[in-house]
C-alpha cells in the first residue's frame, strides 16, 4: 500500500531534488514557491467554482428544482460561464466611495481565505504550509477576513453596506470565541497544533470517537459557530438579501464581487476541511476495531479521496442548514453565542481537560 496516491512525501521530495540538482538553492526555493503558489491558486479557483456548482445543485435538489442544466453536461460549466461573465463585467466606480479602501477590501477577504486554504492537509505530504501551530494559524488568519468585510461595508458609503458590515463585525467577533474554544478543547486532547500530527494521531481512531462526549459537544458547537463565522445561512445577517439587499457587498460588481463570493465558498471549504481534520481524521480512512477485512478495504481507498469525501459531506451539512432554516435576528444571534454557546464551550474545555487528566479517552 505504498503507491504515490497514498503518500505524496516521496514524490514531492524527488521533485525538490530535481530542482535543487539543476540550479542554485535560492532559485530552486523561489521557483518552488512560485509553482506551489500557482498550483494553489488554480486549485483554489477550481474548488471554488465546483462548490458554487455543487451548492446550486444541492439547493435545487432541496427545492424540488433541476438547477443548472444547460451549459455543459448537467450544467457543469455553468459556474465557469458565470465566472467569465463576472470577469467581463464593468467594475463600477462608486462616486463617494473611498477608492483605496473600497478596492482593497475584497483583496483582504480573499487573501485571508487563501492563507487558510494553504494549510489544508489534502493527503500525506500534500499540504502547503505545515506549521507547528497550524490550528492557531488558521484561527488567526481567518479572522482577518472580517477586516475586509468591515472595510468593504464602510468604504462603500452606503447605508445598507454599513449596517451589513457592522452586523458582520459583531457576529464574527462573537463567534470567533466559540470556534476558538471548541478547537482549544480538541487541542487539549491532541496535544499538538500541527495539522499533520493531528491527523497522524488519528490513525488508530478518529478524535470524535476518542474524545467521545466532550468531542461531540465541541463538534456541534464548532459546526454552528463556524457556519456563523463564514456568514452563511441561517446566520447570513451580514448579507440578508431580504433586509439589506446584499449587505456589505451591495456596491460591488464584477471581479471584486466575485472575490467576495468565491471567498465565502472557500471559507466554507476550509471550515469543513478543518472540522474533517480535527474531528474526523483528515485523510485517515475509517477503521473499525478488529474488522480486519473491512479495515483493509478502507485502506485501499486513497487518502485524498477520504479527505475530499469527508469535507464535502460536512459542506453538505452546512448547505442543508442554509436551505432549511429562516434567518436569525441580530439579537437572537448574539444571544445564542453569548448565552448558550460560549458558556457551554467554556464548560466543555474544563470537561475535556478533566477527561484528558483522568485518561478517560480511548
Amino acid at each position: 500500500m505504498q503507491g504515490v496516491l497514498y503518500d505524496f512525501t516521496g514524490l514531492i521530495q524527488s521533485i525538490d531534488a530535481v530542482f535543487r540538482a539543476s540550479m542554485s538553492d535560492l532559485w530552486a526555493t523561489v521557483l518552488e514557491y512560485a509553482i506551489i503558489g500557482i498550483i494553489y491558486l488554480v486549485i483554489y479557483a477550481l474548488i471554488g467554482l465546483f462548490l458554487v456548482y455543487a451548492e446550486r445543485k444541492v439547493c435545487a435538489f432541496i427545492q424540488v428544482r433541476l438547477g443548472p442544466n444547460r451549459v455543459g453536461p448537467k450544467g457543469f460549466f455553468q459556474t465557469i460561464a458565470d465566472f467569465i461573465k463576472l470577469l467581463l463585467k464593468e467594475n463600477i466606480k462608486i462616486k463617494n466611495a473611498d477608492g483605496v479602501l473600497f478596492n482593497l477590501a475584497p483583496f483582504i477577504v480573499i487573501v485571508a481565505s487563501f492563507l487558510t486554504f494553504g494549510t489544508v492537509p489534502f493527503a500525506k505530504g500534500l499540504q502547503g504550509i505545515d506549521l507547528n501551530i497550524g490550528v492557531f494559524f488558521i484561527m488567526a488568519v481567518s479572522s482577518m477576513g472580517v477586516v475586509g468585510i468591515l472595510l468593504g461595508g464602510w468604504s462603500s458609503n452606503s447605508k445598507y453596506s454599513l449596517i451589513g458590515a457592522m452586523r458582520s463585525g459583531a457576529q464574527i467577533v462573537s463567534y470567533e470565541l466559540s470556534v476558538g474554544l471548541s478547537l482549544v478543547t480538541m487541542v487539549i486532547l491532541t496535544g499538538t497544533m500541527q495539522l499533520s500530527q493531528i491527523i497522524e494521531l488519528q490513525s488508530d481512531g478518529w478524535f470524535i470517537f476518542k474524545g467521545h462526549i466532550p468531542a461531540l459537544i465541541s463538534l456541534i458547537i464548532m459546526m454552528i459557530a463556524s457556519t456563523a463565522e463564514i456568514n452563511r445561512g441561517p446566520f447570513d445577517l451580514a448579507e440578508a438579501e431580504s433586509e439589506l439587499t446584499a449587505g456589505y457587498h451591495t456596491e460591488y460588481s464584477g471581479i471584486k464581487f466575485a472575490f467576495f463570493y468565491l471567498s465565502e465558498y472557500m471559507n466554507m471549504f476550509v471550515v469543513s476541511a478543518l472540522v474533517a481534520t480535527v474531528f474526523f481524521g483528515g485523510w485517515m480512512p475509517l477503521h473499525i476495531g478488529s474488522w480486519q477485512a473491512f479495515n483493509h478495504i478502507m485502506d485501499f481507498i486513497p487518502p485524498i479521496i477520504w479527505f475530499i469525501l469527508k469535507s464535502f459531506a460536512l459542506m453538505y451539512v452546512i448547505m442543508l442548514f442554509k436551505w432549511t432554516f429562516p434567518r436569525l435576528r441580530i439579537d437572537q444571534l448574539l444571544k445564542l453565542e453569548w448565552q448558550y454557546l460560549l458558556p457551554i464551550s467554556l464548560f466543555n474545555v474544563l470537561l475535556m481537560a478533566f477527561v484528558v487528566y483522568m485518561k478517560w479517552y480511548f
Binding site: 477608492g99 454599513l162 439587499t245 432549511t324 429562516p326
Partner: protein, 376 residues
Amino acid sequence: MAEEFVHLAVAGTEGQDLEINMGPQHPSTHGVMRFVVKLKGEVVESVQPHCGYIHRGIEKMCESLSYPQIIHLTDRMDYLSAHINNEAVCLAVEKALNIEVSDRIKYIRTIIAELNRIASHLLWWSSMCMDMGAVTPYFYAFRDREKILDIFEETTGGRLLYSYNCPGGLMNDIHPNFQKRVKEFIPYFRKSFKEYDELVTGNVIFQNRTMGIGLLTREQAIAYGVTGPAGRGSGFACDVRKRAPYSAYDKVQFNEILYNEGDSFARYKVRMDEMLESLKIIEQLIDNIPEGSYVEKMKAVIKLPEGEYFQQVETARGELVVHIISDGNKTPYRVKFRSPCLSTLSVMDLISRNQKIADLIAIGGSLDLVIPDIDR
C-alpha cells in the same frame, strides 16, 4: 489628489437617527413601495410609507368606462385575488339592478374565489418565508400554486388575472375537467400542507422571529380598519363572509379563524388555518354544483339606476368595498374601491416601532401588503 473621504451615511448624524430608504426597489417590499425608515442602530424608530409609484388612477378611469369594462380593471388592483375583486363589482351591479343570480353561478364563484384565496395565501406564505431568509418554502408553495393556476387556466383562460365574472354571471361555463381536477387537488394539498407545517411553522427560529413581534391589539385593529387575516390575528372578527354573507357563503359551514395574540405569528397562523377552511368550503360545494345556465339574461347596455351602492367582499387581504355612485348613465359617476391594504399599511408605523430591522421585514411579510392594491 484624492478628495477627503466623507462618509455620507454617517456624516453629521452624531446623536441623530440613521435614515434609510427601503424601496422603491427593495427585495422585501413586494412591489414598488418606499418606506423611509428611521433607525437607531438596528432598532426602528419610525416607518414612513411613501406610496404612489404605481398609481394608475383606476377610480378615474372607471368614470369613463361601462360596468362590464370596469371589471377588467379591478383585476389589476389586488392581482393576487383578482377573481374576488371581479366578484365585488359584479355583485354591486347585480344588487343595483335587483338581479338574483342562479345557484350555479354562486357556487362556481365561491369555489373559484376560495381557490384564489388559497393561491394568494400560498404566495404570501412563500414570500413571507423568503423575507425571513428561508428560500426553500418559496419553491414548495409555487409548486402547489401552479396546480391551482392550471385549474384556473383551463376554466377561465387566465393564470393571474381571470376576468371570469361579468355582471349577471360568468364569462363562460366551467371546463368539463374542473370538478375532477379540483377534487384531485384537495387531498394533494392536504398532504403538502403538512410539509409546510413541518418545514416552517414548527421551526424554532421561525417562532422566535415571529412570536411577540408586531403586536396589534383588537382596538387598534378596529380603529385602523385592519381587516382580513391581519385583523383576525388580533381577534377582530371582521370576516365579511360571516358578517355579510354573499354568493354561496351562507350555504356552507366554515369557521372564522380568530387568534387573540395579535403578533406576527398569529397573523401567520390565521392564514395557514384559513387555507384549510377554504378547502372545507370547496369540498362542500364542488359535488353539488347545480345544473343550469352560467349567466343570467342581461340588457346589452347596463345602466344602473341613480343611487349609491356598496358591496363588501372578503379578499385574501381583507375587506374590499366597492362604492358605486350612479347617475343613471352607462358609466358610473364615481367609483371608490376601499382597498384592504391601504388600511393595513397604516398600522405599519405603529407596530414596527422599537423593533429590529429584521422584524420590520417580518412584520411587512405578515401583513401581506400588495402594492397595486394600495396605489390603485
